[in-house]
Amino acid sequence: MSLVAALTYNSDLLRPALVLGVAAAGLYGLLAVSLVLTYRVSRTIGFVQGGIALAGAYLYRSLTIGSEQTTTNEGLGFVPALVITVAAGAAVGAVYGAVVTGKRMANYPRIVVTMFSLASLLLLAGFSTTLIPADEGRVPSAFGTGVVKIFGGVATVHQVATVAILLALVGLLTVALRCTRTGIFIRAIADDVDASRVVGIPLTRMGSSVYVFSGAIAALAGVLLASSVGTAMPNILFIFLRALIVAVLGGLTSLPLALAGCLLLGVAETSLTAGVFGLVPTDQRELLVMGLIFGLVFVINRLRPIRVLEATGF
């Protein structure tokens, strides 16, 4: 119904807004993926991923550009900086995973682990802003400054690459979760921890591996965000919170639905901002977008409950 209204109201803007909206989805997607992965294995919200993304952005900027505060402005190339940053993210994920899947904390109530994850985000935020010498601002994209014109909309090559990476990752992970032994183990742990332990699934190793991988993805998200939006902490944490919201669309367990949530959020937000449905005030835009997302959460759960989603590995 609203699509028909858009076509009749301001159809000239619809196609470019769709293009820009899909491009904007890339901002949230990778963080949503890491949130879903950590939730599946731990049943806790991985706030730490936001901290890893922020630290990753700072580190990447520091390695590539440096800051006014360093004595030299000569940085590393994009690829070495990317490798170091992603490795650092994986390392932080490994440490975090070792702690929360360790003998003691593995038995803690989930709310406790969630709060610990939130504290870890704050710790990483403090660490990044205090100890990593990086100024704010965008890092030149490793993909160059080119733009792509599609259906009247203009997206940068960086945005297109981000979306491509996101789609590839979601595709790979979906297949892996459904078809590989590791994926089945992860699904089993998410379904029933005690039963998984009984049948001999190495819980600590699997859990830690997921945290390592999620940390790497979050750091990669930070690298890409450093070129998209810069390294300002409020911006990156704002994007993380948005990623959390879209991950909820799939009950924090479904990667494809999280991806769908990103696309929906990006398109809805851009369309409302661009005036596809007329001029909507800023505060009402937020209300509409969030209302749409949470309405869909309700509908999806009614049509296809989360347990079913998990059981099918979808």
Partner: protein, 544 residues
């Protein structure tokens, strides 16, 4: 089970306390910025006092979110007997050689040799730079030196709050947690601290040295701003505010007026800072900027329709309304108005909307360079720019050109600013005493540097009997000029605060020609990438 629950509760509590403590310390730690400066700072030149190495007491940030991250007093200057001796090393800034600010004349910011039209020291003061009452202006109401000395002696030197026979306490609130903090509040605070250190190295004023206390209100956070105010005024008992930059300065104006605390050189972002008799603003008010800038657009660019880019706070919305009023009177239509926040990560939708609305020209009033830059970067990525370009305020910073790149300069960009850029007196002074400031000067900093010199001059003229009321009266008397380098003047009397021909209504319009806005290395210290607008350089609000 019970012991597990108890352990988990303890763990959660410790984790939260630790995390919140670190978070409170994370937003631009004042200790490192005010005293130690940024890490890995270049070693200062021999003979120049480093703003970066002054010792400070450790900061104890509180765990509560409402408690500001405060710096203990940075007491620069050390042992008075040591600092009074020219060339003697002081306990404050580490300097190689020691022949630094204590050397007579070293602190003078008179124009570098060869500079044309730059930096005549207008006040005749010994202080580090121009400022003070214009020659011929009415003498500030003050006691005779003898009477002043007697009055001070009668009180044991403690002539007012924050004043003793040995020191004068000043403070400021800076939002070290804002975006682009390393380009704005940090170097601004560093500069004022350096000025105070240099003055202390010269022995202070009438035997009193300055003690500076900074406070960080974060992003800013309104609760922290109020807490900072409370701390500085009620706990630290400062004599006056000197400098500061926070988007919440409007919140504390009623408190400043109620408590009668002089606030010199504030960020001057709010109309209330101009209206408050205890606040001495050094930057044109937003509404006047909207009128002056708007009239320039009407007269010079002659668009038929414009777009507006406005920040989502009351002051900037009012500023955009003022701009709309100018356009309406001229018969120019405002076809689209974007309201944005500094945290918006992506403005491509707004760019698309602006493109659809098709204005001839866009004016921005966002106060925060990050918000303006984001729009410009997203616009340039989409290869969109209105045919008659973009103009607006609060982008006059040496760093800002590199932030937005060359696209705006190529397609038409102008920015209005209160002072001529960048002021050879300021640049030469900061190159000598604060080498870390290279490339970090901005328009508010210009005013704060000059106003600090005014403060010094006024205190000297007041004599030992330093009082808040006396300072206010002195500042309300006469006209204060910056000299030809910055080319501005201010009057802070009740009638003078809105006077034509002063910084309340008069500004300068610069055109961007390329993205390097840093001061040139020569004596003129002009920005290479910003030139005076050839059509109308001096703009003035004559709208109301």
């Amino acid at each position: 089970m019970r012991s597990t629950n108890r352990r988990s509760r303890i763990l959660v509590g410790l984790g939260l306390v630790g995390a919140l403590t670190l978070a409170a310390c994370a937003d631009g730690d004042s200790t490192s910025s005010t005293a130690g400066g940024p890490p890995k700072a270049p070693t200062p030149e021999a003979g120049s006092p480093a703003a970066t190495d002054a010792p400070s007491e450790a900061t104890e940030g509180d765990a509560g979110a409402a408690v500001p991250n405060t710096d203990a007093a940075v007491s620069a200057g050390g042992d008075p007997s040591a600092s009074a001796t020219p060339g003697a090393p002081t306990a404050g800034p580490k300097s190689k050689g020691g022949a630094s600010a204590s050397t007579p004349g070293a602190a003078s910011a008179s124009s570098p040799s060869g500079g044309s039209g730059s930096g005549s020291v207008d006040s005749g003061g010994v202080s580090p730079g121009p400022g003070g009452p214009q020659a011929g202006a009415p003498t500030p109401r003050s006691q005779t030196p003898a009477a002043s000395a007697a009055a001070s002696a009668a009180k044991g030197g403690a002539t007012d709050v924050g004043v003793t026979d040995k020191e004068i306490k000043v403070g400021a609130i800076y939002m070290h947690g804002m975006q682009l903090a390393s380009f704005m509040p940090k170097p601004m605070e560093r500069l004022i601290e350096a000025q105070l250190r240099v003055m202390n190295d010269q022995g202070g004023i009438h035997g009193r040295k300055f003690k500076y206390i900074g406070c960080d209100d974060g992003v800013p956070d309104a609760a922290r701003t109020r807490a900072c105010y409370k701390k500085l005024v009620e706990q630290d008992k400062i004599f006056a505010f000197l400098g500061g930059l926070t988007f919440n300065s409007g919140l504390i104006q009623p408190d400043i007026e109620r408590d009668k605390v002089p606030a010199l050189a504030p960020g001057s972002l709010y109309r209330s800072e101009w209206e408050n008799p205890w606040s001495f603003a050094i930057h044109m008010g937003m509404e006047h900027e909207a009128h002056a800038g708007g009239q320039w657009v009407v007269d010079v660019l002659k668009p038929k329709k414009i777009g507006l880019l406005c920040l989502n706070n009351a002051e900037m919305q009012a500023t955009c309304d003022a701009s709309t009023a100018v356009m309406k009177k001229a018969g120019i239509k405002v076809v689209h108005r974007v309201t944005t926040s500094a945290e918006t990560p992506d403005m491509s939708g707004d760019v698309l909307a602006m493109r659809a609305a098709d204005p001839d020209h866009i004016i921005h009033y966002t106060t925060h360079p990050a918000a303006t830059a984001r729009f410009m970067l997203d616009a340039s990525q989409q290869d969109y720019w209105p045919p008659k370009g973009v103009s607006g305020n609060h982008m006059a910073g040496e760093f800002a050109g590199a932030l937005i790149g060359n696209y705006p300069a190529k397609h038409g960009y102008w920015t209005n600013t209160t002072y001529k850029l960048w002021g050879p007196e300021l640049v030469s002074w900061s190159r000598k005493y604060v080498p870390d400031q290279e490339g970090l000067h901005n328009h508010v900093m210009q005013g704060q540097w000059w106003s600090t010199n005014v403060f010094f001059d006024v205190l000297k003229k007041m004599g030992p009997n330093v009082t808040r009321e006396g300072l206010k009266q002195a500042l309300e008397t006469g006209e204060y000029t910056t000299g030809p380098g910055l080319d501005q003047k201010f009057m802070w009397s009740p009638k003078g605060r809105n006077a034509h021909g002063t910084g309340a209504r008069r500004e300068f319009m610069y055109k961007a020609v390329h993205s390097d806005w840093a001061a040139t290395k020569d004596a003129a210290a002009t920005p290479g990438g910003l030139v005076p607008d050839p059509d109308r350089f001096v703009i003035e609000d004559t709208f109301d």
